[in-house]
Every structure is written in C-alpha cells, then in structure tokens.
Amino acid sequence: MLEKYPTEVKLVHKFLPHVSEFSKKAAKAAMAADDQGKFWEFHGKVYENQEELKLNATQGRSNDAKILEIAGLLKLDVKRFINKMDDPAFEELIDRDLNDARELDIRSTPQVYINGRVLKERSFPGFVDAIDKELKREEERDSK
C-alpha cells in the first residue's frame, strides 16, 4: 500500500493485545524494538513466527527465548531491549490503546481505520478505494 501511495499515506500501528497473556508481552517487545528503530522489522519477524508463538502460548510454554532470538537476529542491543520492555511508558501506551479499542467497540483484529473511518472491505481494492475517496475529500476541502 505504501508503495502505491508513497507520499499520500501514513501507516500507524496500534496495539490490541487481547488473545493471550503473551500478546501484551509481544507488544511491549515490539515497542522495545522501536526504541532501537526496528519496530517494523520486529513486527514482521513476530508475524513470520506467529504459528510457533501461538502454539507455545496456547500450551503454556514461554515465548521469551523466541523473542530474544528475534531481537538477536535483528542485531538489537539485547540488554537494552530487555530493560526497555519494562518501560512503564510502553505499558501506559498499550493500556491507552486497549482503552481506545474498548471505546471504539473493536471486537476483533485487525481493525483498520482510514482517516478515522472503519475500512469494511479489507482487500487491496478495498484499501485503494477508501484511500482514493479520502484523497478526493482532501482535494475538495483544499479547493474550497
């Protein structure tokens, strides 16, 4: 999507850790990776390993080793990464997202908003259509 709209679209990630106990830990780890400028790389790796992580979480096994393995693969400063995971600011940010999700009545993920409007059709053409509508609205607003 960003390749199609390199100057028109900003993609923002918000957390809705609700599936398992590990969800919130993964969100904090992603923010700790963000602290070293590697949020999106970490985010991608977690999704790549989602099946394994999910299996561990459902069987009550720890995912700590996998998270540290990913941090190592991305060449993060692991000591700093571990310390940052406990940063109260991240806990606060994630709790704020959970609260926002409650207020918006979000019941499943992913949930996508385009300029504040829910994206109902989450296919590529659905994204394109919604983004084009927003760009048109912007143009109309600017021309007034």
Binding site: E8, V9, H13, S20, P110, G116
Partner: protein
C-alpha cells in the same frame, strides 16, 4: 409510447433516488478521532491519509 415514456421516467427517478441514497450512506459513515501519538508509523508524518491498524500478534 406514453407507457414507455413513463417507464423511462420511472427508471431515471429510481437511479437518481438510489444515487442519493448511496451518497447519503457514504456521508453518514462515522468518522472517529484516534490518538496516534507515540505510536510506530511508516510513511510521511504529514501524509493526507492516515491508516490506523489495531492488531494483535497472536
């Protein structure tokens, strides 16, 4: 002839009413304000379109 004309006018009226309904539905689509401060993002900070994704890793 007269009947065909009435049918055509009725069809046109339906199209106009339907277009108006679609526009009204689009207009009525609610827009919410979402706090994105301090969140990871990709793309230009001042982009005209902001895509916000709420997601979970599991």
């Amino acid at each position: 002839m007269k009947r065909t004309l009435i049918q055509s006018l009725a069809s046109m009226l339906m199209v106009i009413l339907f277009s108006g309904l679609v526009a009204a539905v689009e207009q009525a689509e609610p827009r919410v304000t979402i706090d994105i401060s301090g969140h990871p993002f990709k793309g230009p900070a001042n982009a005209p379109v902001t895509v916000v994704v709420f997601s979970d890793y599991l």
